[in-house]
Amino acid sequence: ILGGKLAGRGSFPWQALTGIHGRGGGALLGDRWILTAAHTIFPKGSGANNVSLDQLAEEANIFLGHTKVEELHKMGNHPVRRIFIHPDYNPKDEHNFDGDIALMELKHPVTLGPTVLPICLPDTTNTTFYMDGHMGYVSGFGVEKNFISNNLKYVSLPVVAQEKCQSWLDSKKRYVPMVFSENMFCAGFLTVKRDTCQGDSGSVFTVLDTDSGRWVATGIVSWGIGCAEGYGFYTKILNYLDWIKGIVRED
């Protein structure tokens, strides 16, 4: 997280620290599901993608319940039973993060408490969360000024209208021909140094739903061009509710 602040204990109780192919983030759904970005499990462009999901589940480390990485490690990880990768995600296409969403089922439900609590999913009818300028918060254990963070930090960012994201991307196309699909949204600033960064992938972009008084995950940290050098791009959770519920409810 760049330009952010130290997260207080219990402010982002859904935040998970993942260790699969290096550091990532995730968010607790219910008491046994971790929502994250598919590329934290199957990174783009790495040959490692021929490892089986079971193998990855076996090796994955998931930590919950603290804002200090050192403390999280002391508390021990939560073993993963199964991993679900969205079928649209294509690890081979380095310029397309469409479908960058995954679910990990923990072997044992976690006991919730002040420092471990799940995030809500958005209500299917509520699209105001994706309107231009809607403020959201993203937390993560990712890089800040070239240093991996030992503490959970957060930053508040405004959602940016799709067309602004697209036009910004177009200006970058020459360098990096990235795909921007309707299953994504972008947030952040062009000039202000507040953004997410490597290691934050998989963490969720959350907004406070003033109607219900609840925090809702609207996006997943997915990709960006550099960090704090423009907008960040997030997986639009609203478009994957059926997929998520299909898996979580099926269970």
Binding site: G8, F12, G30, L112, P114, L117, Y137
Partner: protein, 440 residues
């Protein structure tokens, strides 16, 4: 003469009947039937020469050494003695018929073809027990106590406490093994209410089916020799039930009524060589033996259709009030019935009712339950409420809500009778310390 065969009935006809009988004929018939019967004879047809006092032809009937008459003539004839429909009955088992005809049957030179007679006899039972039938010379003694007639004979019997002697008529006190098996009856000292004989060793046994209880009721007068100071030194009336002595009685004070609670009672009556007391008489009755009135062991026990009295083969069914289980020892019973046995005891003892225990309520993951009422136990009607570890979880219940009661069948049930406990579902999006920006 031709003795009639010894059958029980027959016909006797005059010689040549129905043709006219011969002159100068004397015929005699001896009717002899088995003992225990008397002869009854009637004339079906009678047609003899009439004459004054039946001087010429006649039929003469004799029985029991008596003459029963001399008969002749025709029906309605002025002279003679026609028997008509008269029935001749002997007292004994014999009768004799004699027929005589003289040398002619002429009247003014005309021969009258008198045809004689057709007589019919039959054996009638002799009621030897009817005193009027007692024949003076009858060698048979009368029954001393009871006479029982039957067709063709009779037999004697004796009062209770007496035995018929070998002469089949006289009765001698014999009460050493009187057995009574009827549901009710009478027994008394010999000769009651006349003074009882001396030197008696009477044993009256009443034996009824198991499960019956004999009740003895002494009738008046009650009188057994006694002594002012010493208890029954002369004559004793002992009552035993199944070998257990119930009492020894004498004197003039009646024992009244005794409920023996036994289906076997022995009444022993011993007398010495003297005395003029009039003895005793008992009417015994019986009823099914009673069992003790069932009494519940606790206030949760319900005896169904409680009866005021329970007797042999009666039974009672016990159940418990709702929320209580029938328990025998440590065993839970689905039902309980006790049957009154032949010895007046219940075939199994009263169980007790133990409150239904529901056991520890199911633990609620990420929640807990608390007891609503005191004392906090898992007994019937205990109430618990489930709560989740708020604010991290919120409770999801069935339509029956989050309060569960220990039900009569031992399960914790919600308002709708459902046993499924609530669930604690994660509360999402409610951090305890949400980010709050201050500076603007």
């Amino acid at each position: 003469s031709s003795p009639a065969p010894r059958n029980l009935f027959g016909e006797i006809r005059s010689p040549g009947y129905p043709k006219p009988y011969p002159n100068n004929n004397i015929s005699i018939w001896d009717i002899r039937i088995p003992k225990g019967y008397v002869v009854k004879l009637t004339f079906r047809y009678f047609d003899l020469e009439p004459s004054e006092s039946c001087f010429y032809d006649y039929v003469k009937i004799k029985a029991d050494k008596k003459n029963l008459g001399r008969y002749c003539g025709q029906l309605g004839s002025a002279t003679g003695n026609h028997p008509g429909r008269k029935e001749f009955v002997s007292k004994g088992n014999r009768m004799q018929l004699a027929f005589r005809s003289d040398f002619s049957n002429e009247d003014n030179g005309t021969v009258i073809p008198y045809r004689g007679f057709l007589a019919y006899y039959q054996a009638l039972d002799l009621d030897e027990c009817d005193p009027n039938n007692a024949d003076e010379e009858d060698e048979r003694p009368q029954c001393q106590h009871f006479c029982h007639n039957y067709v063709g004979g009779y037999f004697c019997s004796c009062r209770t406490g007496y035995q018929l002697q070998s002469d089949h008529h006289s009765c001698k006190v014999e009460c050493s093994s009187e057995l009574f098996t009827e549901a009710s009856g009478y027994l008394s000292s010999p000769e009651y209410p006349e003074p009882y004989p001396e030197d008696l060793q009477c044993n009256y046994s009443i034996r009824l089916p198991k499960g019956m209880s004999i009740i003895l009721k002494f009738l008046k007068p009650f009188e057994i020799d006694d002594h002012q100071q010493v208890h029954c030194p002369y004559d004793q009336l002992k009552i035993q039930a199944r070998g257990r002595e119930i009492g020894e009685f004498c004197g003039k004070e009646s024992p009244g009524s005794i409920e023996t609670n036994s289906n076997e009672v022995d009444i022993l009556f011993f007398t010495d060589e003297s005395g003029f007391s009039r003895g005793w008489k008992i009417r015994y009755t019986s009823e099914k033996i009673r069992c003790p009135q069932p009494v519940p062991r606790d206030r949760f026990t319900v005896i169904r259709d409680l009866q005021s009295v329970y007797r042999f083969q009666d039974y009672f069914v016990v159940s418990c009030k709702t929320g209580y289980n029938l328990v025998e020892g440590n065993r839970k019973l689905l039902s309980f019935t006790a049957v009154c046995q032949a010895d007046g005891t219940w075939h199994q003892s009263m169980p007790r009712c133990e409150i239904v225990k529901c056991g520890n309520p199911t633990e609620l993951t990420n929640g807990a339950f608390s007891y609503v009422n005191k004392p906090a136990n898992n007994n019937y009607q205990s109430v618990i409420t489930y709560r989740c570890n708020e604010p991290y979880y919120h409770i999801v219940t069935g339509t029956g809500g989050d309060t569960f009661t220990c039900s009569p069948d031992g399960t914790w049930e919600d308002r709708d009778g459902q046993v499924r406990i609530p669930a604690c579902l994660p509360v999402c999006g409610k951090p305890l310390h949400p980010v709050t920006e201050v500076q603007r």
